[in-house]
Symmetry: C2
Subunit: 756 residues, 2 copies
């Protein structure tokens, strides 16, 4: 690819970015889009006096950028949670390290590469980009020590920055734990694998076990209910009801009309079964959260509440029984974070599910090679012309040619990549995590491995499946192979930064899918009511892998093809503004009802270390190919030192991200006991975890896990929402059957009489 | 190799075995060897009336075998501990699985291999052993499904047996924990990384921390003291003293004479410094074990005693502080098991030590290739003849030729292998484990990896370093490579079973080194007193890897070269008798003052699974080479099922080997509290862990870690023994210096006057 092609590509992307960003600054001021960009509550507050200034509404302005800059980290932390701060810290880290790298490499390495060989340099824009790569440096060049030194500087800077970030985030996590005043999850343990007994109910078994072995600290417990049959009945009833309502749009009960659509996509709301509501049953459900009104549906899991935080941590850490598959205890997730529909899974199934998901993910990774191979084919234009002869005429034009080689491959790859996060999220759901945040973290690592494998390695090893397998089967040659392939693919990576990085950022800020969905909802489906349940949570599982992948590209290409660094730096700067904007205005775009408490950082740290080591290994291979054994030899201590640094961080910081320090918890317990707050906390605790919340319409329970909007219909969330229906939960199954029969009878009568 | 060569080798080994075993049955009756075969206490009891039956003493008899059979598992458990039982169970498992394998393979596979090709079979003894291998089966043979089926049967039988053994041993471990009535280690936590403070001493810091955070359950604590300088002074003083005593054999003080030798090799005894003993100081040391009489020597570690077992486990499991490198808690090892000289190591060093040891072990593994290559050279006789032409005449004789090819290589390898366990034990010491059993377990895994790598893989890949590296660098070809190489090396493995297996067993029962040492001691050094400190502990770190390696050879060769199985079965049967004999008579041969509590079993289990999977992968390669894709395809589900089984066992049983179940501990605590024993236990607890035991002469503190006797001089054990010296510990350093000066003056005077 020539420099001009790159500039074309950059131009297109800058244009698209500018367009989308100005569109955003206009669209966000339109009252109609308020629920796309601001969620419901802010809309209610500010919606009214927006209509007055008509002209300003249609003028693009950078005010949102200024606003995004103004927020302090403290404000973001309190508004969007620790995860958002951690994500922003990852971007800040990237900005810092790539500023250093860009300055050193552009002024130190780029001229060395450019004048590496005694050649006549063409006219600037028509020169191949390869002259900026390390490939242009002569073999046995004396200047390779500069590359070696630069890599040392970058590695040291990265490690230093990583250390301070890790330390800072560990501290933040500690503060996050100690400051959350009465988080019920600190007092609660989720116990699974409760043994079934013929003599007593599971409820009794749990009570006896914990009174016997944790008597002094045990407070109460609450069984988890399996919802299989009820759910089936419910969904049957609802299908029938939906049909029924479809034909009787306004005939039956005016209050239930607007919810017809939400039944299907976002779960039932509280008034869709208005006809059988019974106040006495609701209050019964409300007051006895742990009462076994459906004894045959109890499953072998329970939330156990303890009197102190320390007691809960202790119960979660100790092996309870001599059969490790029974009485498995974990600290409970936060109430909103609980993934109810996974809790009934028998614990002894989980290891099998985990292995099955792992295998499925690996198979998916390899199946994905097919579209990648196709993308690779595109960049070899002659092949494409042979297959599609009618394109010959068009492809002869330089501009089209430049678009097809420089832009199209990564756009196609990008489109295919959009299917990955939903699939990985599905795998993570099947895996059986107990919390939504756990599921998201698991999906995040899956997407990360997937992206690194499919975008980096597969592209590097020239796309074809056979080449890759050869590379896997001879690990000794990998450095040399990488050293040959990475500089060759550097131009592709630069365009990838442009398309995947820049463009995705602007589409993120625009919320394209949200806009389209909003438009469809308003003008096609004609739903007027704003749906609070459709506010998604932040898609960490797509954004973190993207940021980390671009970091990986930056590190690996830094000394080989330094031209990528300025583009990358622009990406990170833009990303900082955009994500700050998204994260800082909580309830603007995303609803953050649960979070991992900063547990994403170890993923960021480990991936960065991996990127560094990979860059060092590639450099080792490159120096080997350039026949510079000294520079090559200097890489080995660097690799070892980086790995040692990583091991130190793992020892020093990582335990904090898996455990709560006893010291802090005991201090918190003592403070609460002295101030007399403990009683109050215990009272709140008993009603904190309700599998069937009595009032579901003011809670945003549905989380659309992707930005794409295509996966907002989350079957399992729906399931838990279906069951949150207060009127049906209290009913015995026989009564439910009667309801279903009754409704279906009405429907059949109706369908006969209505004009089909 | 021909069958006759194999029979020669077998003959030699059977002869050696029979000779050694009958020698053993004679020697064990000799009163002079009583302390080799029986330790001191039994000797005292039975020694007297042995002298009467003179004739019987010199007639070989199988009475010891009968005796070994008579012990029940219960008796062995109570006498030799759980580790001995686990080791015997590993042998029982091997006997069972290889009985099944031998029957199926010898009657099912051997004829198929023998008549695999339509060839004229030679005279029986002069036929090559290769006709019994799978190499003799024709390509695309229809009979390969039999091999496939047999491997399925063996794998299923092995997994079933493994499951029941794991279950049984987990149960035994549970009983072992619950039955040990007042084990102080259950109540004690070793805390390391106590933060240094300028305001208060470490002692105070520990007290404050545990009273504050574990107030209700904290009982007391005891600091660990660093012993660097005292130790130096002590050893100086002792060197001087030894010299001095050597020249003044009987002149000074008759009571201290016999100990002169033990000072150097087995640690000081209580009366070797009789001259400066002071009763008042001893009693001071005795009564205040945690008193800081040397305040400047306190190190950042302490034993913390808790009131209940459960509290101790809780304190050991929970992350204490927000800096994971501080207040690191682990359950303490048993008092005799504590490895005192490692306790002062700063905790933050340990991860570096672990990595360094790992690297050192790997380097050692590769350095060891040099002797292995030499051994391989021996089996190619023509090369040897070229180098040493004078051997030509001798080597032409068939018998010598057969010995050199069939016997010598494995003897040489064997001799080199004797250096491995002491080296690995040294590495494990440097690693910094807190307990002797932990050190032994760590050495055991190191020796195991080493043995499998150097005996199996290196021999299979034909010895030369370059070949091996090629094999490592192309993992895809490994099955095919193994499939080619393993049958080729099968005869070597058979001779290995004969030499390493059979011969080592008989030398184990004979205690050759012990005998020689005993002889030297009596007739060369003229030391009359029996030394209780020289009774070694059982060398699990050499015996477990040997048994597991032979198991690995059995599994991998089972369908490829079934001829190995009968020899292996004989080995395991003989081993069962021998080890039962050694283990059942505790204080006979070995002193078992500490143990891992059955934690060796997961090593046995994992290695067996590894062997099975390796055998299956090799079979996959062999079927591939024989162009039988169906049989080859059938191997893949077998590999997956075996791995799944392993994962299940890891989930179901492995946690029990790392943790104590809370349920059992709480039951024990309750029982003790109800019966009122708790008070008594607490009292005993306070004096259980004494870094400087007041009376060391009736404790067998030295453990010679190898059978070889060459590594009985364990420097670090010596160190702790040196310091256990009651008379010197109470002294201030200045006083010690005076002693040293005084003694050295006496020595210098003496050496001038004595006739050199």
């Amino acid at each position: 690819m020539k420099l001009s092609a790159l500039l074309t590509s950059a131009g297109i992307n800058i244009g698209v970015c500018a367009l989308l960003l100005s569109l955003y600054s206009v669209l966000r001021k339109q009252p109609g889009n308020v629920n796309v960009y601001f969620g419901r509550r802010l809309a209610e507050e500010h919606g009214r006096h927006r209509d007055s200034y008509v002209l300003e509404r249609f003028v693009p302005s950078p005010s949102w950028i200024v606003k995004a800059w103004q927020y302090t980290e403290e404000e973001i932390l309190s508004a969007a949670g620790l995860d958002a701060v951690v994500f922003l810290r990852a971007i800040v880290f990237s900005i810092r390290i790539f500023s250093i790298a860009a300055v050193i490499c552009v002024f130190g390495i780029l001229p060395l590469n450019y004048y590496g060989q005694e050649m006549h340099h063409d006219h600037f824009p028509s020169e191949s980009l390869d002259v900026y790569n390390i490939g242009n440096v002569m073999e046995k060049s004396r200047w390779l020590w500069v590359h070696c030194l630069v890599l040392y500087i970058i590695s040291c800077a990265a490690c230093t920055l990583l250390y301070f970030e890790y330390k800072r985030i560990a501290k933040m996590r500690q503060i996050h734990i100690t400051r959350s005043p009465a988080d019920p999850s600190h007092f609660t343990v989720l116990v699974r694998g409760v043994p079934k007994s013929t003599e007593e109910s599971l409820n009794e078994t749990v009570r006896h076990f914990f009174t016997r072995y944790h008597g002094p600290s045990y407070l109460s417990h609450q069984m988890v209910f399996r919802v299989g049959k009820i759910q089936k009945l419910m969904s049957n009833a609802e299908k029938v009801y939906k049909k029924f309502m479809h034909w009787n749009a306004t005939a039956f009960d005016p209050r239930s009309r607007p919810n017809m659509f939400r039944c299907g996509l976002c779960g039932a709301t509280s008034n869709s079964f208005e006809l059988i509501r019974s106040q006495s049953e609701i209050s019964a459900t409300k007051n006895n959260p742990s009462h076994s009104y459906l004894p045959e549906k109890e499953c072998a899991a329970a939330f156990v509440f303890f009197k102190t935080r320390y007691a809960a941590v202790v119960a979660s850490k100790v092996l309870q029984s001599s059969n490790p598959m029974l009485w498995v205890t974990n600290l409970a997730p936060e109430p909103h974070d609980v993934y109810w529909s996974n809790l009934w899974l028998p614990y002894r199934q989980l290891w099998l599910r985990r292995i099955a998901t792992l295998l499925a993910s690996i198979i998916f990774m390899f199946l994905f090679l097919i579209p990648v191979t196709f993308v690779q084919g595109l960049s070899q234009l002659d092949q494409l012309q042979q297959r599609l002869p009618f394109l010959k005429g068009i492809l002869k034009k330089t501009f089209v040619n430049q678009i097809v080689t420089g832009y199209l491959p990564s756009v196609i790859l990008q489109l295919f990549l959009y299917t990955v996060p939903p699939t990985m999220m599905l795998f993570s759901t099947v895996e059986g995590p107990i919390s939504r945040s756990g599921r998201k973290k698991s999906a995040c690592t899956k997407v990360l491995y997937f992206t690194i494998w499919n975008v980096f390695f597969v592209n590097v090893f020239s796309g074809s499946v056979i080449n890759q397998l050869n590379a896997i089967s001879s690990p000794k040659d990998i450095p040399a192979q990488l050293a040959k392939a990475v500089p060759r693919q550097a131009t592709f990576f630069i365009t990838y930064v442009l398309t995947s990085g820049w463009a995705s950022l602007s589409s993120e800020v625009m919320q394209l899918f949200g806009l389209v969905w909003n438009f469809l909802k308003k003008y096609v489906f004609r739903i007027k009511e704003d749906d609070p349940a459709s506010v998604p949570s932040f898609p960490y599982h797509t954004e973190i892998p993207r940021v980390l992948l671009l970091g990986l590209l930056g590190f690996t290409c830094s000394i080989l093809a330094p031209l990528i660094l300025p583009f990358l730096l622009v990406y990170f700067l833009l990303g900082y503004v955009v994500y700050r904007n998204q994260a800082s205005n909580i309830m603007n775009v995303y609803c953050s009802r649960y979070e991992t408490g900063g547990r994403m950082w170890p993923i960021v740290h480990n991936t960065t270390i991996f990127s560094l080591v990979l860059a060092q290994i590639i450099a080792l291979g490159v120096f080997g190919l350039k026949e510079s054994p000294v520079a090559s030899g200097f890489m080995i201590p660097l690799v070892i030192l980086t790995l040692l640094f990583n091991e130190y961080c793992r020892q020093r910081f990582h335990p904090l991200f898996r455990n709560f320090p006893a010291q802090d918890l005991i201090e918190m317990d003592k403070a609460d006991e002295q101030s007399g707050r403990m009683e109050q906390i215990h009272e709140q605790l008993l009603s904190a975890y309700s599998q069937f919340p009595p009032e579901s319409h003011n809670v945003c329970l549905v989380d659309g896990e992707g930005t794409s909007g295509s996966n907002r219909k989350d079957e399992s969330t729906e399931l838990s929402n279906d069951l949150s229906h207060p009127t049906l939960v209290g009913l015995p199954i026989s009564r439910l059957r009667q309801v279903v029969t009754a409704v279906s009878m009405i429907v059949s009568l109706q369908s006969k009489s209505s004009p089909m």
